[in-house]
Symmetry: none
Subunit: 227 residues, 4 copies
DNA sequence: TATGAATGAGCCTTCATTCAT
DNA sequence: GATGAATGAAGGCTCATTCAT
């Protein structure tokens, strides 16, 4: 055939990447075939190998693209948020938004994280770390600022967030339910921050503060007199 | 040619099941090969098919074994627990124990839940539902008894528990860290029940009483001096 | 299990034969499995081999049964028929009757005649020859008695009969049409005996008569003159 | 490793088709193996699948080739024939010629028509219909023109022709006899057109000629005397 | 650079037959 | 005599990758 006349490499590369993305979303890594990617990219299999060393390479490039776009989108918006609760809600909502915009991507990311290949040390793991940083920072800042418990185990907290998200998304998608990122993020963040338990609270904050204020005042007064 | 010495069918079956278990732990379903299972069970591939109709059947048999043992172990111990917190800690610890006893199994279960085959409706899904029942009951009982927030979204809570567990285990195992089920269960349950947020109150009743005692003492002293 | 208590060999053999017959009717030789036959005969595969040397043997035994029954049924009735046309109609009708009574059998016989194994020299061929004898005799007797053309090529005629029957049955069965042996036998025999061709005859006789008239006239005239 | 020298796709395809043809002639569809075809085409099995989607596809391609060539050969010659008897003789001779040129093909076609797969609706059936059209037209035209009995059952007649041919060829080939298409076509057509039966009337040609000779002689003699 | 034909190892599954029990 | 567990060869098919063109 007449090859598409003089495509610049970058363009061709992008086409292949796009095709690969579609295929890797539709099928897991092992089940995706280079033949299908080539067909969708409108070239032959051999051509793929002039742009990517092998299938894994191509897959990693797709992942990089996905994460890069994701991070580029999150970065500025995250930077403008200060409160821990706000940040948490934003990150959860943004994560849910992926599942809404591109359900295949969520599935792919979750799926491939436990692939046949070792996850730790993989490209996917490295990329994921960058993404997870936003959450890690949110949590550690939260502790520093006194908005989260001082004894919070950050890694454990992070796992609850992402693990919960993953299961939640899978469950809802599996049942064909709609996901409303904002509302659901509010609920999830609320549950995480306050816990499942029944708040003895009502007894809670205002009265206690008042009592302690009274106490402090009294003790100060006594110390003064003691002098 | 040389037939292996005859064994009782049940024995052979168990051998094959054991071999299959090892292989399915090491590789995901699609990547596991009947050839490898046969080799590990010290028989030829054909033999496998006299015990199991096909690869999926064999896989399901492995899963059934795992879950049956798990559920049989949990059932009586769970039945003897009443408090929501106790139950939660027990179930979490038991789940973590799987990862300690048989790290491959955790990975396998998590992995296959997102397999290529539709998860919903699969044997795995059916088995998993039975297992998850313990948690579901714990949570709904907890709400009924007023030990958990009345507005708790049970499905969401369940997803946080299992999602968090899954990520936690994967993370720790991936980093080669040791897991201490009891301690970790305490921490996880605590975090889930109380939330990430800073307790304005640490509150609790005993301290409150102590404060009031302190207060009473001070006030009494003041009154004494005032005289 | 408790084996069926002391079945006499002949009974068991008959059971196996019956099961084999069902299976060989349903599937062609290669596709029929000893396992299925054993299951249908309610015994295990090994048992089959105590009654028949191998699958082919078993198949041949089934065929022998079929042909023996067929021949035993035809023999006396054929013996009572004299006219060539009657015999032909009877044999055709009887053949069609097989397709009506036991469509599987016709299919099986036709099918296996061109099996992978060489047909000539096979057991099936030998059995078939006995069956075909009835037709062969009918045709050769017919010629001898002057009821069939003296120059009839017997083998060719026989092939037309059975080839036609085979195709006819297959066609009708394939289209789901009903077969009425008697009526169809009449039609087929008629067509074979009289041919496809338009009888020149009607046209033929008038001219012949004219010739004979002419001849008679001449001869009479000659006789007259001779006097 | 060492790749065969590149060939043009069409060439390779033809080689594979040729190899497949040989194998499908030698064995029935189910018994033919892709391995054998590959070996005969001097390539590996995988290569076959770059030309044909699967075994059935390859088989159908072989059949299509055979029928296309056959029909292309018959078409123009058939078009030039008018009389029913001529056409019939031609078609029969042509059919026999297949058995002479390529004895395997006849066997294959007959064999596969009763394959395990349903024949009706198969590619083979579709192709065969086109081939059979020539005979169908011959017969229906024959009736229309008054050259065949007006009450001729066309389907039945067609089955006699092809059934007879099939059996005849199988019988002769099976016995290692030579086939002489032209002579045999004359005989077969004759038998079909005139039937097996003793012609009471047509008295046939030789006698008629003898009579007319006698008649001519007599009349000549009389005329002589009259002078 | 792009091509695309060829590779070949590997996969799951079937089944007639054997033989120790 | 009957059993039935074990065999092992064979089958169709897939696919990432290579390399001559």
């Amino acid at each position: 055939m007449t090859a598409l006349p003089r495509r610049r490499k970058a363009v061709r590369r992008a086409e292949i990447l796009g095709a690969a993305r579609e295929v890797f979303i539709a099928r897991r890594f092992e089940d995706a075939s280079m033949a299908e990617i080539a067909a969708r990219a409108d070239c032959v299999e051999g051509t793929l190998y002039t742009y990517f060393r092998n299938k894994r390479d191509l897959f990693d490039a797709v992942l990089t693209d996905v994460y890069d776009a994701l991070i580029a989108d999150i970065e500025p918006r995250f930077a403008s948020l200060d409160g821990t609760a706000d940040r948490l809600r934003f990150l959860i909502a943004r994560h849910l938004q992926i599942a809404v915009d591109d359900p295949g991507i969520s599935a792919m990311l979750g799926r491939e994280a436990r692939g046949g290949q070792p996850y730790f040390g993989s490209k996917l793991h490295a990329l994921n770390r960058r993404y997870v940083q936003f959450m890690t920072r949110t949590l550690s800042d939260g502790v520093e600022r006194g908005e989260l418990r001082a004894d919070l185990d950050l890694a454990m907290a992070r796992d609850f967030v992402f693990g919960g998200l993953e299961h939640r998304v899978r469950d809802l998608l599996g049942r064909g339910r709609r996901i409303e990122p904002a509302r659901m993020a509010r609920e999830m963040a609320g549950l995480l921050l306050e816990g499942f338990g029944q708040r003895a609270a009502p007894a809670a904050e205002a009265p206690l503060e008042r009592i302690e204020a009274r106490l402090a005042r009294l003790e100060g007064e006594l110390r003064a007199r003691a002098r």
